[in-house]
Symmetry: C2
Subunit: 414 residues, 2 copies
């Protein structure tokens, strides 16, 4: 039972200064997991030669595979290439094949490279260049003592191309066992409520259970098991999934990599339903999540971002008097927004959101986080009141997920 030990090093001051949100490491973790591997550790390291060297040395010591992102570009703070060469006792030499590939790329895209681009031509003599289908600098592959180091650029598209086309195929060839997992995604119950419904997780052994709560996707349950048999799913994983699914059944919205929005779109497409959105405080976030799913045009007829009262009245037919009487953040206005969006778009279902995301905007009777969400369908309109307790961004994310879960629930009951 020899699981590949995989570590990731993300190089870049911008990570440690908080100037860049690290979506690369999330992508790498996710694509490893999807392919039956497990990331053992990830760390951020500054653009300082000796720090990168030390991180490499610790990771190389205890891992079969070391992945590195960042620091391969042409500017002076890009140190990954020389540090890796130094770490393996190798030196950098210009390579004609890399030079020619870069020149072809510049020519094809019709631009003159800035001085300094030629450092990208220097490459460790004992390493293999990883082709870069989406950018200039090649990746670096060092293979030694049955261990592999792969260094990729920090630009997401370039990193993704190298992971998918070069690195994952090599890992699959090297691996003997598999880390298998199943996810059960839920909406409408808290982590504690789910834990109570499931009971002692010891009864699931050798399968382990994790609770993964989030602001924008409900609580995900993950069941996992490492095994070196190749015979499809192991029985204990199937048994554990049945047990847990049965315990939390009413709250499940999917059991795969889907999102609540993709489940909704699939369902509405099958039933031939059309959707309209009327967003105030979420300001387009619900629409953006839906449009993020390829093919969402089949069900999303239109969206209104009616952040101003004027837009609520003109586009959705909300009456000025109801805004004056109840306020823009009220059950009455939420209902009128959903009804107006549904009728004016001539669709089956419309969802509206109006709330006080904060930090400003609260009144004596209406605190920050107060949010009304309405859904209008064939049989009329329903409205829910929620009070979220986070920052502006969190409140908007929760309102977005809550609106999606109300729509999911509505489709289920329909």
């Amino acid at each position: 039972l020899a699981e590949l030990k995989i570590e990731l090093i993300a190089v870049g001051d911008e990570l440690l200064m908080g100037l860049t949100l690290d979506t690369n490491s999330n992508f790498i973790a996710r694509s490893l997991a999807k392919n039956g591997f497990r990331l053992a550790q990830m760390r951020w390291v500054a653009d300082i030669g000796q720090n990168i060297h030390q991180a490499l040395s610790e990771a190389w010591e205890r891992s079969d595979i070391v992945l590195v992102t960042g620091g391969l570009g042409p500017t002076h703070d890009d140190l990954t290439r020389p540090v890796i060469a130094g770490f393996f006792g190798d030196r950098l030499e210009p390579r004609d094949d890399i030079r020619n590939a870069l020149l072809r790329r510049f020519e094809k895209r019709g631009f003159t490279p800035a001085p300094g681009w030629e450092v990208m031509v220097d490459f460790p003599t004992r390493a293999i260049p990883i082709p870069n289908g989406h950018g200039a600098a090649p990746g670096i592959h060092f293979s030694q003592d049955n261990r592999e180091l792969f260094a990729m650029p920090g630009v997401p598209g370039e990193m993704i191309g190298m992971m998918e086309d070069y690195i994952l195929p090599i890992l699959k060839k090297k691996s003997t066992g598999q880390y298998r997992y199943r996810v059960i995604k839920t909406v409408g119950a808290s982590e504690s409520q789910l834990a109570m419904l499931i009971g002692d997780p010891g009864k699931l052994l050798p399968v382990s259970l994790a609770f993964l709560p989030s602001n924008d996707n409900g609580v995900t349950l993950r069941l996992s098991l490492y095994s070196n048999t190749d015979s499809g799913e192991s029985n204990s994983l199937i048994t554990a999934e049945h047990l847990v699914s049965k315990a939390v059944e009413p709250y499940i919205y999917c059991k795969d990599e889907s999102t609540i929005e993709s489940v909704i779109i699939e369902r509405m497409r099958k039933e031939g339903l059309q959707l309209a959105l009327a967003e105030s405080c979420t300001g387009g976030m619900i629409a953006a999540r839906i449009v993020d799913v390829p093919g969402s045009s089949d069900i999303l007829n239109r969206g209104f971002v009616t952040y101003s009262n004027e837009a609520k009245c003109e586009l959705l037919g909300v009456s000025v008097s109801s805004i004056e009487q109840f306020g823009a953040v009220s059950a009455e206005v939420a209902s009128a927004m959903a009804t107006g969006a549904r009728e004016r778009s001539n669709v089956d279902i419309a969802i509206s959101v109006t709330g006080i995301a904060g930090p400003g905007g609260a009144t004596d009777t209406k605190p920050v986080g107060l949010t009304y969400i309405a859904i209008a369908g064939l049989k009329g309109v329903e409205v829910q009141r929620h009070l979220f307790a986070g920052s502006r961004e969190e409140n908007r994310k929760r309102a977005t997920f809550t609106a999606l879960s109300i729509l999911f629930d509505y489709l289920k009951r329909r």
Copy 2:
């Protein structure tokens, strides 16, 4: 010159499985940087006792401050509390003050806690509880040999509260020097072009320069310097900022923590201008970025998410014949969308985006990534053609940033 060495450990299988995007570490890095500190390293560690223990031991060995997030909740995979106690040779004992605070919280929010909640009452005898203003579990503060360990929950709102109310004030008291930095945010030039304009970064020493490119915020330049003088900004940092600003002047959109959308909102508010948006492939992302800024209601009159052709025609007055003749992704339709949004909303400026985000939707003449962005103002409409080369998500993010930068440029020229 003794800079506080700060390391962060983020505990959680969900990070290493890619099921959760780590926004916590980004927040912590950013708020340390804003307050004159620098995060030296961050790592993700799995929910395995000995891995957490080893990470703690390596970080404690070489740091003044160790921050930990995650694993303080009530479920069986929450191991941070016992591991920390064990690491310091301490034991957990139930504390009445924590129990009472939890019971008060449950009562206030009117729910019955799930069985198992009582583990949160157990606390290391030699540690100080960090008050949790936004959730149940208290944080843990260990102080030993002039070094500090702070453990926070993984729930963003709870972590943020503890950082701001408890941890940062203690760090400020302990610190003697300051890591100072300035950012210069640019739009319209590549990393290489900026590097060429600036020239040898050696002339900026002792100030160091970093290039931080991104899909959704242009290229940020960061100048940084550590110093233990308290006398405001150091001269070398000011000199370096002048040199670099002068070199890249036409591309700067701000020199602070602002975003391009906040700069736009500020400018439009001052000039009393109103904006409307007409989004197809970006599907609400531009609106969502604008609404993310508190007070954006002053300038954002409304947004249309016209993902369907029907919505483009009905809401924006695009003619069916121009969609048939030129296609929905064309300069003509982009122009008609912007003009229609501007006229029908009776605003000063309208921006429209229509493109093929991918992976599907390409034709022989229109590849994935092809995007038209139009801006309509008092003097007519301008349209730009762009070809983005990323994933669906990246193309939508780039289209969003490009639309914002076109609007910024328009306001500058106005």
